[in-house]
């Protein structure tokens, strides 16, 4: 009897082993995004500013902070863990990714696909799974990761002298239009409104937005919160580049203070993309 019991035990044990094995190599990170389009847009917004960067995965979500090559602009991105369902993370990991490669892989996903990010402990690769519910298609891709030595900057909470929120499409149009005339734009915020002006070889131009409230469609309103008037000059090429994030949100917030980098924020339902740009100082013309 005893013998039989032992043998049975051994059998059940043997049976257990193959079941446990997949658990041992289960990923450290598994994050499922309902719409692949969100990540596609985020990466598209960043990839021209930064080539290689770390996606830092921790409990709060997947974050990214990187400066452009010239160190005059900085992008800070957060996809909150609430935006994923589920978001499972055993240990904090940094995924060093080449954004050009990531763009290539994300092009293989449709906006409505369900996207799952997976990475193992001390990963060499990041795997992306796209599921299309409509035609039951599952695509799996892996991209190689790299070690990126990145320094993180501490960005202090700042009380800005002016915070302007406006339709992101409007901001994009202004930047593109003025970019044709000049390299840089002066942004002046006062109680009356905000004025974008530039002057170049062929002439000069300016666009003024007054504060107004659109009751039916609040995303089309322009709001100005002002503690003191501000006037700063910025590189238009960089602003045009930031505007690539317009697809992320219909509203953009510009925060300005004298002699401090401009903050351009695109808020998403569960996260944000923030751009910081150094002002042009001491070049009064």
């Amino acid at each position: 009897m005893l013998h039989k019991q032992l043998i049975l035990d051994a059998c059940s044990y043997l049976l257990l082993v193959p079941i446990k094995l997949p658990l041992l190599i289960s990923p450290v990170l598994e994050a499922r995004l309902e719409q692949a389009g969100v990540l596609k847009k985020v990466v598209d917004a960043i990839k021209d500013l930064v080539q290689d960067c770390n996606f830092d995965c921790n409990d709060s979500g997947i974050a990214l902070q990187a400066m452009d090559n010239s160190h005059v602009a900085l992008v800070s991105m957060l996809l909150k863990s609430e935006g994923f369902s589920p978001y499972r993370l055993d240990r904090n990991v940094a995924l060093g990714v080449n954004l050009t490669s990531l763009t290539k892989v994300l092009r293989c996903a449709q906006n409505e696909d369900i996207l799952t990010l997976k990475a193992e402990d001390a990963p060499d690769t990041l795997s992306l799974v796209f599921e299309n519910a409509e035609n039951d298609r599952i695509s799996e891709y892996e991209i190689k990761l790299m070690d990126i030595d990145q320094e993180h900057l501490g960005i202090p909470e700042t009380e800005y002298a002016a915070a302007i929120s406006m339709p992101s499409a409007e901001f994009q149009r202004i930047c593109r239009d003025l970019n044709q005339l000049s390299e840089s734009v002066a942004i002046e915020a006062s109680k009356e409104g905000v004025k974008f002006s530039c002057s170049g070889d062929i002439g000069s131009g300016s666009v003024t937005l007054r504060q107004h409230n659109n009751v039916d469609r609040p995303e089309l309103s322009t709001k100005i919160e002002l503690t003191e008037p501000v006037a700063l000059t910025f590189s238009l090429k960089y602003l045009v580049n930031f505007c690539k994030a317009s697809a992320l949100s219909s509203v953009v917030t510009l925060s300005l203070s004298n002699e401090v980098p401009l903050l351009v924020e695109y808020a998403m339902g569960s996260g944000f993309v923030r751009f910081y740009l150094a002002p042009k100082i001491g070049e009064e013309e």
Partner: protein, 382 residues
């Protein structure tokens, strides 16, 4: 020494006492540029050579008072650091050289063509010239050296001198030969005698390879003998004989160009010595005369022939370097190293190619007046 002027490091010959030294300015015999010389009343003229560290490896001086010396010089105090790492070296110099441009100026006509006492002669040639000549004139060495290049006559117990080109050439010729005797100073010997006369490495390597080849063929022959010896010894030797180096083979193994003979290197040394003296101490017109004189006294043809032959061989060696066999002879490490470097270059290029147009445009933005973000945001501790 004034406290705010940093001292200079000067190396003096140990025979020269450090008192009574004077630094004077005289025109340089070759360039006629005013140059500083060190002069001592009895020990004579010294040239000052400045040694400077190359800019790639900057150096400075750390001066500390010698521990034994109870009272270090006042200016040194507890020690000093000199930013300028150069050193001045004083070496004895024949005062004759500085006088030569005056004694034998350009053109055939000499300034002085009559016998004059030393003082008058010196005054005559230094008249109206810039420079601190009085220190040279006062030196006792000068008269002795002057006598060597002048004809002299006795006039009432006093000697009178007249510059003589013949005597001058004899003196200069003597200097060249003396310098060339034995070996030149080590670095000069290496750079100007050994290197120009060295046979190209490829040639030597080819010889070595041939020797090895020869040794192998002999070994093969021995093996053959060993194998077949039991059957028929004579046949084995006949079979193996084609592998024997034939007399014509061994002839070809003779180097095409023998090592430079002693005569050739001696000739080259004399040439180098004369060029050195001409370029450092002689006015151009005298340098020409000296080289003519040397050509008359020495036959340089063997040297010229040898050098011409070397040039030919080197050209052939360069051409042969593209040969496959030579490529193979590179060491393994070198190949690995080259491959790695190639890979790195490719990686960088690939990265550059992968940058998008928009990113490139951003790189071209005029960032004048835009401070870096690190000026606003502080780095977070990792």
């Amino acid at each position: 020494m004034s406290p705010n002027k940093p001292p200079h490091i000067i190396l003096l010959p140990s025979t020269v006492p450090s008192t009574d030294l004077k630094i004077i300015t005289l025109p340089h015999p070759h360039t006629l540029v005013p140059t500083r010389y060190l002069v001592h009343p009895t020990h004579g003229l010294h040239e000052i050579i400045k040694l400077t560290a190359p800019t790639s490896t900057p150096r400075s001086w750390l001066l500390t008072p010698p521990s034994k010396l109870s009272s270090p010089p006042k200016w040194l105090r507890n020690g000093q650091i000199l930013q300028d790492g150069s050193m001045y070296i004083c070496t004895l110099m024949d005062p004759l050289f500085v006088l030569l441009p005056r004694l034998f100026p350009t053109g055939a006509v000499d300034v002085v063509n009559m016998f004059l006492p030393v003082d008058d002669l010196l005054e005559e040639i230094t008249k109206g010239e810039e420079g601190d000549w009085e220190f040279v004139i006062k030196s006792q060495v000068t008269e002795r050296r002057l006598a060597a290049v002048c004809e002299s006559v006795d006039i009432g117990g006093r000697k009178a001198y007249k510059p003589s080109r013949e005597k001058l050439l004899k003196v200069l010729h003597g200097k060249c030969v003396r310098m060339a005797r034995g070996e030149l100073p080590a670095t000069m010997e290496e750079e100007f005698v050994r290197k120009p006369l060295a046979r190209p490495v490829a040639e030597i390597m080819a010889e070595l390879a041939e020797e090895r080849e020869g040794a192998r063929s002999v070994k093969e022959l021995e093996d053959n003998v060993g194998e077949r010896g039991g059957v028929d010894g004579t046949e084995a030797i006949r079979m193996g004989s084609p592998a024997l180096p034939t007399p014509s083979d061994s002839q070809s193994r003779q180097p095409r160009l023998a090592e430079a003979s002693l005569e050739i290197s001696d000739l080259l040394r004399i040439r180098v010595a004369s060029e050195f003296i001409s370029n450092s101490y002689l006015p151009v017109c005298l340098a020409e005369v000296l080289s003519d004189c040397l050509r008359k006294s020495h036959d340089f043809t063997p040297l010229d022939n040898y050098l011409a032959e070397l040039v030919k061989i080197r050209q052939e060696a360069t051409a042969a370097r593209n040969d496959y066999t030579l490529k193979r002879s590179h060491s393994n490490e070198e190949i690995v190293d080259r491959k790695r470097r190639k890979k790195e270059v490719e990686a960088v290029e690939k990265k550059k190619r992968n940058v998008s147009r928009a990113a490139k445009e951003l790189q071209m933005v005029d960032k004048k007046g835009m401070p870096k973000l690190t000026a606003f945001f502080k780095k977070k501790a990792a």
